[in-house]
């Protein structure tokens, strides 16, 4: 897996979520994603960035343009040092929410990407890696 380009963007306020959406649009356009694929990746990024902000107390996202030899893709790694998720399986269920949201952030964004990985430790933080291939 070759990383062609990378960038780290902080997630500290709700305007950072807007900035991240615009950046994903830029990266996905550069990777020549179709409009539907771009829209899915931007929406997933918006959900995950909001989770990082609201549940993780802020953090950062790593953008990577990657290639596996045959395909190019966009990989996003969201990381926070927040309280962590005690029960990941429950958190990934549609409709599960600890705040007053709809509980679609994690479960919904997982459906919008090709690869989804989550690691979380209570008291240490959460890391979510999503990839969408061209």
């Amino acid at each position: 897996m070759a990383v062609q380009k990378h960038e780290v963007v902080p997630i500290e306020s709700s305007s950072d979520i807007v900035l991240i959406r615009q950046k994903v649009r830029g990266w996905a356009t550069e990777l020549r994603f179709t409009l539907v694929d771009q829209t899915k990746m931007i929406t997933a990024a918006s959900e995950l960035a909001r989770n990082t902000l609201e549940h993780g107390g802020g953090g950062k996202v790593l953008f990577e343009a990657i290639s596996n030899g045959t395909r190019n893709g966009l990989r996003l790694t969201f990381e926070d040092q927040g309280p962590g998720i005690p029960d990941i399986e429950q958190a990934l269920r549609d409709g599960f929410t600890t705040k007053n949201g709809l509980g679609l952030g994690l479960s919904g964004s997982r459906r919008l990407v090709n690869e989804f990985e989550i690691a979380s430790k209570v008291g240490a933080g959460t890391k979510i890696v999503v990839t969408r291939w061209k």
């Binding site: 979520i17 959406r21 771009q38 829209t39 709809l102």
Partner: protein
Amino acid sequence: MERIPILRMGNFLLVTIQVDMHDKLAMTLQDDLTKAIADFDSRGVLIDISTLEIVDSFIGRMLANIAAMSRVLDAETVLVGMQPAVAITLVELGMSLPGVRTALNVESGMELLQESVGSFHMSMNDGSAET
């Protein structure tokens, strides 16, 4: 403070969302619209999202809230102009916006509002839109 303008046209309110909204702006719009419905005694709200490039669960929830709140205030909401890529993504995300009326464009959205509000307001219509 940044705000999305709400236009008043007779008994209806028109909103065109043309910026990539941050969460607070979406909440402000929800509050402003609800207040405007009550202040102007509006019977319908038309929200044009044709320039919105994404609708995530937060914006989707805001739109559903507006529709629900306006219904409680005796006004109809019609959402118009959603881009196909946005619709595909929104449904895959798990939001099908139940309870929100939609139309493909502003014109058919206005027709829908006029129909639901009744014959009294049909006087606003020149008749050409009737089928």
